[in-house]
């Protein structure tokens, strides 16, 4: 049992999230029990409004649950305060978003350097240059997001996600804003990098083909795993 638990990098028990609205309490997520093994790739699929984004934000420690517990790498995320969760994200987690979420004022290189700079890593620039080279953007280091296409922006976001060598990568609809050809290229790159880094991948998508590339699919409907 102990061995099994230590291999699970994410564990949730009876996880739930509800919000109070003028017409009563709205249950966004209920009874989510989940174990994700280290290095596993999981797709969270479901219709719009099924609670995918809420689940990923709880798992990543971006938000707090109303009920239940989450442990990340053996540590209880739910018992941590906001600063504790921030430290956990900094050490353990990488993100890729549908809307890229690059800092508009920063160049591609500076965007990628940022997570390492936050850690105080002196080698930030070299690592960022290497990773941008890896995603095929060595010629676009000094370009700002506005000067890059959607696919290029998402590649910068991938480089930023992997530059800090995260144990877990959360990807929220990473191809949602891209055409299918570019989307496919980005997904290829994402899986390659994930493999190279031996990271656990939690991928939110409503694209069945993409979901099928993961080892396991968790389907959500009205906030519950089905």
């Amino acid at each position: 049992m102990q061995t099994q638990q230590s291999r699970n990098i994410i564990v949730t028990e009876n996880l739930g999230k509800s919000v109070k609205t003028s017409s009563g309490t709205l249950h966004i997520l209920s009874d989510i029990n989940l174990q994700v093994a280290s290095g596993e790739s999981i797709a969270i699929a479901g219709e719009s409004g099924s609670g995918k984004s809420t689940l990923i934000s709880l798992l990543a420690g971006l938000d707090t649950p109303t009920i239940g517990t989450i442990s990340l790498n053996g540590k209880s995320l739910t018992s941590m305060d906001e600063d504790g969760r921030a430290a956990m994200r900094n050490q353990l987690v990488g993100f890729v978003f549908q809307s890229f979420q690059l800092l508009q004022g920063l160049t591609a290189l500076e965007n990628v350097m940022l997570p390492l700079e936050l850690r105080g890593d002196k080698n930030a620039k070299n690592a960022a240059v290497a990773l941008l080279d890896r995603v095929g953007l060595s010629e676009r280091l000094t370009h700002t997001p506005r000067q890059l296409s959607g696919g290029e922006q998402q590649r910068v976001a991938l480089a930023r996600a992997f530059v800090s060598r995260p144990a877990i990568l959360f990807a929220d609809e990473p191809t949602g804003n891209l055409d299918s050809k570019t989307g496919t290229k980005v997904i290829e790159l994402l899986f390659e990098l994930n493999l190279e880094n031996n990271a656990t991948l939690i991928l939110v998508t409503h694209d069945q083909t993409l979901a099928n590339r993961c080892q396991r699919i968790i389907k959500l409907d009205a906030g519950r795993i089905v």
Partner: protein, 827 residues
């Protein structure tokens, strides 16, 4: 994380991306203005103090009825203070069988330490400026001495036992002292001749003036050292007390400088607050990403605060240089009006400017910045997750507290600060609430109005809270500009009023009662405008409520000096013009013996209504009841009295009459005729004092004008940059409307309606708040009459409407001219 290095790098990256431009501009205006005004005020004040020191002929004067201890002079010498002395006394001169009571002034070699004397040698010769008095053996006399004693230049004149040669006619001496009634025709001699005149005997009535000049620090030290050692008959002269007409003009000008500083600081503060608000809103996403990447809440906050501090320090350093340049330019513009030597700029003022800049930055930028701390990392997934706004108490409390401290610092009056601050705050809160309610109500009537009006109004109603704070910000800026403008106009108008073109420039004293009807007729026949004739009876105040006055007064006070000399008492039926009863009533119908006391003297002597004052007049005792306390204006060049008695009280005592009159330059010869007809009458010419006073007023007026232009310029720059800081959402929404097919003219009309309404409401609120504050300021701080400024009620809403309308439409102009996709992509 190494926050500081990262902060600097992020700051650099932000500045390159143009995110800091508006904030930088706001801060630049704040620090440049505060440094320029701090430097300008400091230099102007010191220049004016130097200049007004000329009225004392020194930086500091100790007046005494006897010589002062040698150790005092020794101490002044140790402190490197230059010293001069004058001794003044009355003496009867007899020449050519004529008698004249003259005022003799024996001056030491270095007299005057500040300012100059003016002399001439004949009626037709030009006046010469003299920086020292006559050499031993010589005497300079006023022209009246020559005519009264039938003497000419070069003739001998005997003062006491000493025969001196008259070498010059003195036409101006800088330090004609206080009690003008004792002024007699002047004779100036060298102090070395004083002993030989034999006039000074034990018990003679001599007034000594020990004059000092030097560096401010040494003067202050000397003053502090000497003050506790002064005896009852000695006092330090002060420009504010001893030349009240100049003192009050300077006081008001100093207050205006203070007001300008506050105005500029408030305007800049508003700009910084709005720019930071925009900065915060534009950094919500970046903060969410930083938080998502593992930045802790306090680290995020520290990251941004460090950036602001670095930005503040760099901008402040640059702005200090710019402020220095601006005040140099202001002084260059004023060069022709200011005295030859202008005080050097002080480093302390630069430092103060910089500190002010940083304080404004922290006070006004910190509250909006705190919002970033509350950004949820989940915003990276859901952009609609807005952090809660910083508590309104904190936002307005910190900024308000800062403004309160600044007002207090400049006014140094807790009561006044509280009144101004509370009036402003209450008006702002009440009107802010009112605007919010009106916006909420307006929402209901939206559906029934034309489309462009609906879009325009929707722009304001969408976020009532943000619109209210924008309106209040613009209102505050407009109020600040209005205060600066109105106070300046009224101040200058007030000065012009107190010194109209035909302000009296001569005093006629020692008019005997029997001469009065003749003189009145003569003035009338010659078309001379004169003020009222007042009886003058000399008397001494000895007791207040049966307690000797010496026991009541504090040392070195105005009251103390009043108890040492005879006062000029008068009586009159009617309250003199420019006098105002501030407590009690003018004469009671019972015709009791009553007196009306001047306010400052009453304060100093702790005199209250109903007190019994005992005067000794002509050897007789006279008890009167205080029926009123009066404020009066010393700066009108009309006779003024500390004590005015009720009719029927003083008539039985012997006295003379006094008046002041205006005589134009080309009618000066009439004075000789007047002196011939009334030889006992003393004429005092105050043209030069008046001229000097007018020069100072015009210098102050010009300086104040430039300050106003500067404040207005800062105000308009801020209004424009503040409008820019609110444009992001408007541009985005307009671009969206265009994608849905809104044509350019609809958008233009919408923008005009939205911004013009914003300006109109701000303008109307600004008028109401300005009038409230002006009332508080005038009645409490500046002691001027308040009257509503009617044109403001039209001008301010119009200015608000046009300025904001134009600035807003200019700011969003490219939304209507660029392809919408291009605009949207940039968001």
């Amino acid at each position: 994380m190494k926050p500081f290095g990262l902060a600097v790098r992020l700051l650099w990256r932000d500045s390159r991306a143009g995110e800091l431009t508006i904030l930088f501009l706001a801060l630049l205006i704040a620090v440049t203005s505060s440094t320029a005004i701090a430097l300008f005020s400091d230099r102007l004040e010191r220049t004016m103090t130097n200049q007004t020191a000329e009225f004392l002929a020194a930086d500091m004067v100790i007046s005494s009825h006897a010589t002062i201890p040698e150790s005092w002079l020794e101490k002044a010498k140790q402190l490197n203070l230059a010293q001069a002395q004058t001794a003044e006394f009355s003496s009867v001169l007899i020449e050519n069988d004529e008698l004249l009571l003259a005022g003799i002034k024996a001056a030491s070699d270095l007299y005057p330490l500040r300012g100059f004397l003016k002399t001439t040698t004949s009626d037709y010769a030009d006046e010469a400026i003299e920086h020292k008095g006559p050499e031993p053996g010589l005497a300079w006399v006023e022209k009246r001495v020559l005519s009264a004693l039938k003497l000419n230049i070069g003739d001998p004149i005997t003062v006491g036992e000493k025969k001196l040669a008259i070498s010059k006619i003195v036409t101006y001496e800088p330090d004609k002292q206080g009690d003008i009634y004792s002024l007699s025709p002047r004779v100036i001699i060298n102090k070395q001749d004083l002993q030989e005149t034999g006039v000074i005997q034990p018990g003679s009535h001599v007034h000594y003036f020990f004059q000092f000049s030097g560096e401010q620090a040494q003067l202050t030290e000397f003053k502090r050292w000497v003050k506790p050692q002064l005896n009852l008959a000695q006092r330090i002269l002060d420009i504010h007390e001893d030349r009240p007409e100049l003192g009050s003009a300077l006081n008001r000008a100093e207050r205006y400088l203070g007001l300008s500083s506050i105005v500029v600081i408030i305007i800049s503060g508003v700009a910084i607050a709005m720019a930071t608000r925009r900065y915060t809103e534009r950094h919500l996403d970046a903060t969410a990403i930083l938080r998502c990447l593992g930045c802790k809440q306090n680290e995020v906050l520290w990251l941004f605060i460090s950036q602001f501090l670095v930005l503040g320090l760099l901008t402040s350093a640059f702005a200090c240089g710019l402020g220095w340049f601006v005040q140099e330019m202001l002084f260059k513009l004023l060069r022709n009006l200011l005295p030859q030597s202008v005080a050097n700029p002080g480093w302390l003022a630069v430092f103060f400017g910089m500190m002010t800049g940083m304080t404004i930055l922290i006070g006004f930028a910190l509250p909006p910045l705190l919002r970033l701390k509350k950004v949820s990392p989940a915003r990276v997934l859901r952009r609609d997750l807005e952090p809660l706004p910083t508590s309104a108490w904190l936002v307005y409390g910190l900024a308000g507290g800062l403004v309160g401290i600044l007002i207090w610092r400049y006014t140094e009056d807790l009561n006044m600060t509280a009144t101004i601050f509370c009036t402003g705050l209450v008006l702002l809160l009440v009107l802010g609430l009112l605007v919010y309610l009106i916006l909420m109500l307006a929402r209901r009537s939206l559906s029934s109005i034309p489309l462009n009006w609906r879009f325009g109004l929707q722009g304001l109603l969408r976020n009532s809270r943000a619109t209210t704070s924008q309106i209040l910000a613009f209102t505050i800026t407009l109020v600040a500009m209005t205060l600066s403008f109105t106070v300046r106009s009224d101040l200058i108008e007030n000065w012009h009023k107190q010194l109209p073109e035909h302000a009296p420039n001569h005093f006629a004293l020692n008019i005997f009662p029997e001469q009065l009807p003749g003189l009145q007729t003569e003035f009338k026949d010659n078309g001379i405008e004169n003020s009222q004739f007042y009886p003058v009876i000399r008397g001494r105040l000895t007791e207040i409520n049966n307690v000797p006055v010496q026991k009541i007064v504090s040392k070195d006070s105005q009251g103390e000096s009043a108890t040492h000399r005879k006062l000029s008492l008068t009586w009159t039926e009617k309250l003199p013009e420019d006098n105002k009863i501030i407590a009690g009533t003018w004469w009671s119908p019972e015709k009791k013996p009553e007196v009306s006391v001047e306010q400052k003297l009453a304060d100093s002597l702790k005199i209250n209504l109903g007190d019994k004052l005992l005067f000794v007049v002509g050897g007789q005792q006279l008890t009167v009841t205080v029926s009123s306390i009066r404020s009066l204006r010393w700066d009108t060049m009309k006779p003024n009295f500390y004590m005015i008695f009720s009719p029927g009280t003083l008539e039985s005592f012997p006295g003379t009459f006094l008046t002041s009159f205006y005589l134009p330059e080309n009618k000066k010869t009439y004075l000789n005729q007047l002196v011939k007809h009334y030889p006992a009458m003393t004429i005092l010419e105050v043209d030069l004092i008046l001229k000097q006073f007018k020069t100072i007023l015009s210098q102050l007026t010009e300086a104040i004008n430039y300050l106003l232009y500067f404040a207005l310029m800062a105000g308009f720059t801020v209004l424009f940059s503040a409008i820019y800081s609110t444009l992001d959402n408007r541009i985005y929404e307009s671009a969206l409307l265009r994608t849905f097919g809104a044509n350019r003219s609809l958008l233009r009309r919408t923008h005009i309606i939205e911004f013009a309404l914003l300006g109109l409401v701000s303008g109307v609120l600004a008028v109401i708040i300005s009038e409230g504050l002006l009332f508080a300021l005038y009645s409490i701080a500046l002691h001027m009459d308040y009257h509503p400024t009617y044109y403001l009620w039209i001008a301010l809403p119009l200015i608000g409407t046009f300025a904001l309308g134009l600035a807003g439409c200019w700011g969003v102009r490219h939304v209507v001219s660029s392809p919408p996709l291009q605009v949207l992509r940039n968001f």
